[in-house]
C-alpha cells in the first residue's frame, strides 16, 4: 500500500471493524446467557427444584422478630418479603438520619479552630473508618450490649420507659378516632406556612420588608394543632410497657439488634460523611468568605448564604453515595439476626422454599431499584444546581 489514497481494504475500515466487534460481543453475550440458562434449567429439572413465583402465596409458617406491618405465622412468603423490605427501609432511614447528624458535627468539628476538638474529631474519623463494618456490628452487639441488665433489673425512666438486654421499651401512643382532626390541622398548617414563606420572600424582594416567618410558622404548626387537640377532647392515650412474665409487653420495643446495627451503621458512615463535609467546606475559596465579610455580612449569614450553598455542591454527590452505601450495608443485619430483607427473605424464606434463583433475584432487584432511583434523582439534582452556578 504505497499510495495512501488507495482504497482501504474493508477490514481496516473503522466502521466495519467496530460493527464486526460489536456483533461478536453480542454473540458472546447471547452465548453466555444461553449457556447459563440451559444449564440452570437442566439442573433445576434434574434436582427436582420447583420454579416460578408460586411460592410467594404459600404459608410461611415461621415468626419474625420485628415487623412494621401485622405479621403472623399464617401469612404468606410474599408477606415476609414485605416485612423484610420495610425493616431494611426502617434501619436505612434511621441510619441516614443519625449518620448525617454525627457526620456534619464531626466534619465541622474537624475544621474547628479549637485544637483539641479538631484532633478528637480526626481521631474519631480515622478510628472508625479503618475498621470493617461487620466487626463493628459484632462488637456493639456481642460485646457492648451484653452489658445491659436482664429484664427484671431493667434501667427505667419514671416507670414509663425501660432498657434491658431484650431491648428498649417505650410508651406507644394510641390515637383516638378524632385524632385525625389534629393530624389534618398539622398538615394544613405546614402547607400554609410554605405559602406564607413564598409570599414573605416575594414581599422582601419587592419592598425589602422582612417578615417574622419563624414566629408565624411555629404558631401555625405547633399551637394550632395543639388547640384543635384540646378542642376535640384529647384523643390520645399512651400504652405503657409492663413487665409480664419474662418480658415487657405493650408499648414500642426497640430490639437490640436494631440498636446495634443502627449504632454501627451511623458511626461508620458518619466518618465518610464527615470527610465529605470537610472537603466541601475546604473547597469553598477563602476569598468568598472574605468578600462576604467585606460586604458586612454577619458571620452566621456568611455561613448560611455563602459558604454552605457552595460547599453543598461538593458535599451532596458524596453524601448520596454514602447514603447508598448505608442502605446496601444494612444487609449485614443478617449477621446479628436483625430481620431485614436479606435475613428474612434471602435467609429463612430461601431455606424453607429452596428457590434460590427467584429469591436472590428479587432481593438484588430491590437494592438495584433503590440504588438506581437515588442516583437518578441525584443526577437530576446535580444538573439543577450546576445550572444555577453558570
Amino acid at each position: 500500500m504505497s499510495n495512501s489514497s488507495q482504497k482501504q481494504s474493508w477490514w481496516n475500515n473503522a466502521r466495519y471493524r467496530s460493527l464486526f466487534f460489536q456483533v461478536l460481543l453480542v454473540g458472546m453475550l447471547v452465548g453466555f446467557f444461553w449457556f447459563i440458562g440451559s444449564n440452570t434449567l437442566a439442573n433445576l429439572d434434574k434436582r427436582g427444584i420447583s420454579t416460578g413465583f408460586g411460592f410467594l402465596s404459600l404459608k410461611a409458617g415461621f415468626g419474625i422478630l420485628q415487623s412494621l406491618i401485622p405479621f403472623s405465622e399464617a401469612d404468606s412468603f410474599g408477606r415476609t418479603f414485605l416485612v423484610g423490605l420495610l425493616n431494611t427501609l426502617l434501619v436505612s432511614v434511621l441510619g441516614i438520619f443519625f449518620a448525617t447528624i454525627i457526620g456534619f458535627t464531626i466534619g465541622v468539628a474537624r475544621l474547628s479552630n479549637n485544637w483539641l476538638i479538631s484532633k478528637l474529631a480526626g481521631v474519631y474519623v480515622e478510628m472508625f473508618r479503618n475498621i470493617p463494618l461487620l466487626l463493628q456490628i459484632f462488637f456493639w452487639y456481642f460485646a457492648v450490649l451484653r452489658a445491659l441488665p436482664s429484664p427484671k433489673q431493667s434501667w427505667k425512666a419514671a416507670d414509663l420507659a425501660f432498657l434491658n438486654i431484650r431491648g428498649m421499651y417505650l410508651p406507644r401512643p394510641v390515637f383516638g378516632d378524632s385524632f385525625s382532626f389534629v393530624a389534618w390541622t398539622f398538615v394544613l398548617a405546614i402547607v400554609a406556612t410554605l405559602f406564607i414563606r413564598r409570599w414573605a420572600r416575594k414581599r422582601q424582594d419587592d419592598t425589602g420588608q422582612q417578615f417574622n416567618l419563624w414566629g408565624t410558622g411555629i404558631g401555625l404548626i405547633v399551637a394550632l394543632p395543639l388547640l384543635v387537640y384540646f378542642v376535640v377532647g384529647s384523643p390520645l392515650s399512651w400504652d405503657i410497657p409492663k413487665l409480664q412474665g419474662f418480658n415487657f409487653r405493650g408499648g414500642v420495643t426497640v430490639i437490640p439488634e436494631l440498636t446495634a446495627l443502627l449504632v454501627a451503621l451511623s458511626v461508620y458512615t458518619a466518618t465518610f460523611i464527615a470527610e465529605a463535609v470537610r472537603s466541601g467546606i475546604l473547597a469553598v475559596n477563602s476569598g468568598q468568605t472574605e468578600a462576604a465579610s467585606a460586604l458586612g455580612l454577619h458571620k452566621n449569614k456568611v455561613l448560611k448564604l455563602v459558604v454552605i450553598p457552595q460547599a453543598m455542591r461538593v458535599i451532596i454527590p458524596q453524601l448520596t453515595s454514602q447514603y447508598l452505601n448505608l442502605v446496601k450495608n444494612s444487609s449485614l443485619a443478617t449477621a446479628i439476626g436483625y430481620p431485614d430483607l436479606v435475613a428474612v427473605f434471602a435467609g429463612t424464606t430461601l431455606n424453607q422454599t429452596g428457590q434460590a434463583i427467584e429469591i436472590i433475584a428479587m432481593t438484588m432487584g430491590v437494592y438495584l431499584f433503590i440504588s438506581l432511583t437515588i442516583s437518578g434523582v441525584m443526577n437530576w439534582y446535580n444538573k439543577k444546581i450546576m445550572l444555577v452556578e453558570r
Binding site: 434436582r47 409458617g61 415468626g63 450490649l145 451484653r146 431484650r166 412474665g245 419474662f246 435467609g347 429452596g354
Partner: protein
C-alpha cells in the same frame, strides 16, 4: 515470554476449572480420587467439631469415617467440608460433597423435592428447649411470651411456630445464622429460651459460660430423625452409605467391637458374625466393595454403641442417655436390617 504466558494460562485454567468431572457413579469417583468428601456442621460438640489443630470428631464424623473405611479401606482419607444449614443442600446437589452427615432431619419435603435421598438414621432426635435455671420454669407450657433464640434454615423454626400456636402462646424468635451465634446470644441473656434438637442443646450447653445454670426442659415437640443424605439417582452409592451405617448397628447387636473384631474374625463360629465380617455369604460383592468392608468399619471406627458412647454418651461431656437410640432389643428403636 511465551512460556510464561502459557504457564499463566495453564494456572488460570486449573484455578478456574478446579473441576472434578464427577462421573455418574459417586463410588468410582471417590475411589479414583482416593478421598471421600463429607459435609459436616461448622462446629457442634458431639456431632462434628474441629479442635484447635483442625482434627474433626463427633458421631456424624464417625459415620463419615465408616463410609470412608468401607469405600476406601482407610477411615482417614476424608475431606471434611464444614457447612452451615443454609448451604448444606446446595453443596450436596452441586457435587461439592459426596455425602451429607450433618444432623439433617429426614422429612417428606426434603426427601421428595430437593433431589436427595436419606439413607437411614444415625441419631433419633427431637426438638427441645433449654432455659436458665433462674427462670424457674419446669415445663415448656410456661413459656408464654418468651424470647426464643433459634438457628435459621432449620425445621426447628417451623416446629416452634406450630408448638406455640397449638398451645395458644406467643413468642419472639431471635434468628441467627450459626450455632455459635445462637448460643452466644442465649448466654448473653438476649433470650429466655434456646430451642434446637435436644442433642444439640446438650452440645451447646457446654459452650455456655455457666453450663450448670441451664437446664433442658422435658418436652420434646417434634420427631427429628437425623441421618446421612446422598444425591438422588445413584443407587450404588446410596446402598454403600446406607449399609455402612447398618453395619455399625448390626455390629453392636452382635457384640462385635473395635477391640474384639480381630479375635471374632479369627474364632467366631456365629454365622451372623461371619457374614458381617465378610467370611461367608454375599459379603461386599453386591455393594461393589471388598469383602472386608464391614470389618474395616468396625476395626477403624467401631460399632454404633461405641461411637455413641465416645461422642455423646455418658462417657462424654454431653452426657446423653441412649434413650431412643438404644438398640431395639434394649428398649430403643435402633434397628438394622439383617446382613445376609
Amino acid at each position: 515470554m511465551k512460556k510464561i504466558t502459557w504457564a499463566l494460562v495453564a494456572a488460570v485454567v486449573t484455578l478456574v476449572i478446579s473441576v472434578g468431572f464427577a462421573q455418574a457413579s459417586t463410588k468410582e469417583e471417590v475411589q479414583k480420587r482416593g478421598v471421600f468428601q463429607c459435609g459436616v456442621s461448622t462446629g457442634l460438640p458431639g456431632f462434628s467439631i474441629a479442635d484447635e489443630k483442625g482434627v474433626w470428631a463427633g458421631i456424624d464424623v464417625d459415620v463419615c469415617k465408616a463410609i470412608a473405611a468401607a469405600t476406601l479401606g482407610d477411615a482417614t482419607k476424608i475431606k471434611f467440608v464444614p457447612l452451615n444449614a443454609k448451604e448444606r443442600f446446595t453443596a450436596l446437589q452441586s457435587g461439592e460433597i459426596d455425602a451429607l452427615v450433618r444432623g439433617t432431619t429426614w422429612t417428606l419435603t426434603r426427601d421428595s423435592s430437593l433431589g436427595l435421598n436419606f439413607t437411614g438414621v444415625n441419631y433419633y432426635d427431637g426438638q427441645g428447649f433449654m432455659v436458665s435455671k433462674k427462670l424457674g420454669v419446669k415445663s415448656a407450657l410456661e413459656l408464654d411470651g418468651a424470647a426464643v433464640c433459634i438457628q435459621s434454615g432449620t425445621t426447628s423454626e417451623l416446629n416452634l411456630a406450630d408448638y406455640f400456636k397449638e398451645n395458644k402462646m406467643t413468642y419472639k424468635a431471635v434468628v441467627f445464622d450459626t450455632h455459635d451465634a445462637t448460643a452466644a446470644a442465649f448466654d448473653n441473656g438476649r433470650c429466655d429460651v434456646l430451642t434446637s434438637d435436644q442433642s444439640q442443646l446438650y452440645g451447646l450447653r457446654t459452650h455456655l459460660s455457666k453450663p450448670e445454670e441451664a437446664i433442658v426442659l422435658p418436652e420434646v415437640i417434634s420427631k427429628e430423625p437425623l441421618g446421612p443424605v446422598v444425591r438422588q439417582g445413584d443407587d450404588a452409592w446410596f446402598n454403600i452409605v446406607k449399609w455402612s451405617l447398618n453395619a455399625m448397628i448390626e455390629a453392636e447387636e452382635l457384640g462385635v467391637t473395635k477391640a474384639n473384631v480381630d479375635e471374632m474374625k479369627a474364632n467366631s463360629k456365629s454365622p451372623a458374625v461371619r457374614r458381617l465380617l465378610g467370611l461367608e455369604g454375599i459379603a461386599g460383592k453386591g455393594l461393589g466393595l471388598n469383602n472386608d468392608w464391614a470389618y474395616q468399619i468396625i476395626k477403624q471406627v467401631g460399632n454404633y454403641g461405641e461411637i455413641f458412647e465416645r461422642n455423646v454418651g455418658t462417657g462424654s461431656p454431653l452426657n446423653i442417655a441412649r434413650g431412643l437410640n438404644a438398640l431395639w432389643s434394649k428398649g430403643g428403636i435402633m434397628y438394622a436390617p439383617p446382613v445376609r
